[in-house]
Symmetry: C2
Subunit: 192 residues, 2 copies
DNA sequence: GTCTATATAGAGATAGAC
DNA sequence: GTCTATCTCTATATAGAC
């Protein structure tokens, strides 16, 4: 899974650092140390920190959507799909030292320190994910698996906010088992 | 509502800045400018940034618990209590330029850059709030207002994560009306 | 209590050699 | 492409005058 070329290694390292500590606590010096190159070399690939973060988000959105598309394309039940989708968030916290949150969740907290170009990418990530969830909910209602008050659209937004929030809260209290319990509870609320 | 003494003004300003931009993007220079004193004067009240944040959190937790205690002490229905509790989160985003999130929600994202003394306060805030919500859910079940799958404890954690997450997400997409819709949807899920 | 002045460290970024 | 060297700015923090 480790990248071989320098550019990808920089992105990998930056992403991990932001998911742990946030964009404002991540520096070129940190990346430099972990990748084993000098700060100036990073500027060769990404002239400004803004460039770096934009490229990071574009890659992240693409990778994430690819994973979700695989789930959507499967012939499993809607409940299984929603469970597998939610597991992507569990996987983020489970990996490494169990201290990473969603990249876009972290950046949400720092939103007002980011420029519009970056904010656009974050908003796009939200929209994409809410659309995916809504699609799963709709097919689950049609198949008779799901039943709940309100619209699938509002419920999709609720589920997305829940997963993002729980991932952040779980780092301070409860860890992986907390987010697993939260997902189980959420599934119970919408099942027929 | 504006504080008169310097110490409180510093705390007010620091809190607002953190709720907007995060702790790592908040500086003594920012506070200095807004309060109208020199950076060195802030160090007189709070020798280190850590001191400042700890005092901030202690005050915040106390103020927040006081507001919730008022709600808990009222003779209203459980549904009304939960609605009023949730409205505290709406109020945060509604105030000022509609760009503030929960203090502890913001700090959750920066959690791994904070020292244990600060993390303790954040965890305490979570625990207190989850206990309050659980209490409301229990009384609502007893009165026949609420009915849902799973335990009140797990449901309380879900609701807390949801409110924290939605407050962060809403700043990028949906604003005040989003969080209002989310709360309405959440209430619909637990009503009998 | 608040100020000026300063110390020290770190940030993002650029120039130019190799 | 990667390096050394350096610039500029900002950060937290302290000393000491008033």
């Amino acid at each position: 899974m480790k990248s071989t070329n320098t550019r990808s290694q920089i992105l990998d390292t930056a992403q991990e650092l932001i998911q742990r500590r946030g964009a404002n606590a991540m520096s070129y010096a940190d990346i430099s140390e972990k990748v084993g190159i000098r700060k100036a070399s990073i500027h060769y690939y990404f002239p400004s920190k803004e460039d770096l973060i934009i490229n990071l988000l574009d890659r992240y959105n693409e990778q994430f959507c690819q994973l979700v598309d695989q789930i959507m394309a499967s012939s499993e039940s809607s409940a299984t799909k929603l469970n597998r989708y939610s597991s992507l968030f569990v996987a983020t916290l489970s990996s490494g030292d169990q201290d990473k949150a969603c990249l876009c969740g972290i950046l949400s907290a720092e939103l007002k320190t980011l420029n519009p170009t970056v904010v656009d990418r974050i908003t796009q990530f939200y929209r994409d994910n809410e659309n995916y969830i809504e699609e799963i909910l709709n097919s689950g209602i049609k198949s008779g698996e799901f039943s709940f008050a309100g619209t699938p659209r509002t419920m999709a937004k609720l589920i997305f906010s829940l997963l993002e929030g729980d991932l952040l809260v779980a780092r301070a209290e409860g860890g992986v088992s907390r987010i697993q319990a939260t997902i189980e509870q959420m599934m119970a609320l919408i099942k027929s």
